[in-house]
Amino acid sequence: MSDSLVAYLILAGVLFSIGTFGFLARRNAISMLMSIELMVNSVNLAIIAFGAFTKELQNDASVIALMVMAVAAAEATVGLAIVIAIYRNRRTPLVDEYDAMRQ
């Protein structure tokens, strides 16, 4: 099982689906950001799995995963800063109460 690419890809798909559910269903903005981190990590797992089982991608996969990690770090920084800035104005982290543009 640990020597088959399919097992790792299915695990990555399941983790991605969990992240999708969290992003769609949670009310808290920070929970949504955590779900995005789960999805990014599942994609990273798929990239590393392809690298481990494909000779041509062996070292490229590690490099691409590191790039994804750096971009995810930048995304988390900006996302959390936006959440904190909105919290300072609206006094709530719940996304369904950010309805200023609806009124």
Partner: protein, 178 residues
């Protein structure tokens, strides 16, 4: 005394046991991240999930990525998220409702997505080698600073821009003179 290739009495390879344990930790911790009520505990479960993923990266022969996962995700991003949680927790806000009203359709969509991905993955013939390859840090560094040098530099500029933007966004109004 050398360790046998398979688990005694069960006949399963040690690598398979390790994969099953790590995969179970990843999935259980991931489900806890999206379902638990207390958001601090969600953050801690996320750290557990990332740790198990680092173990999977080691199994997949990418020790450098596993080390970066521990340093960047468990060390930096999780702490950043925990700090943001503590900055945005308000006692008066009703945290009774964890999910949006569309939680049930979201759950159905997520399950359908997982099934579709699993079917697509298992229906495809992958031209994969039989065993896992091990990529050394030396080779990864050569590729990183040879083929991917431009991407590396662009990412460094992106990180700088993100840090400056984050400070600008999270800064209090009117404190720019201090």
């Amino acid at each position: 005394m050398p360790i046998p290739d398979t688990v005694p009495l069960l006949g399963i390879a040690w690598d398979d046991v390790l994969f099953i344990v790590l995969a179970a930790i990843v999935i259980v911790a991931g489900v806890l991240v999206v379902t638990m009520r207390d958001i601090i505990r969600c953050g801690l479960a996320m750290m557990v999930c990332f740790g198990a993923l680092a173990g999977l990266y080691v199994m997949l022969g990418a020790p450098l990525v596993a080390a970066a996962q521990v340093i960047v995700y468990i060390g930096a991003i999780s702490v950043l998220i925990l700090f943001a949680i503590m900055l945005t927790q308000s006692k008066v806000a009703p945290v009774r409702l964890v999910f949006q009203t569309q939680a049930v359709p979201a759950a159905i969509a997520a399950v359908v997505l997982a099934i579709v991905i699993a079917l697509a993955v298992s229906a495809t013939e992958w031209p994969a080698v039989a065993t896992r390859l091990w990529s050394t840090t030396n080779d990864v560094a050569r590729v990183l600073f040879d083929d991917y040098l431009l991407a590396f530099e662009v990412v460094s500029v992106l990180l700088l821009a993100a840090v400056i933007g984050g400070i600008y966004l999270a800064k209090r109004e009117g404190s720019s003179d201090s």
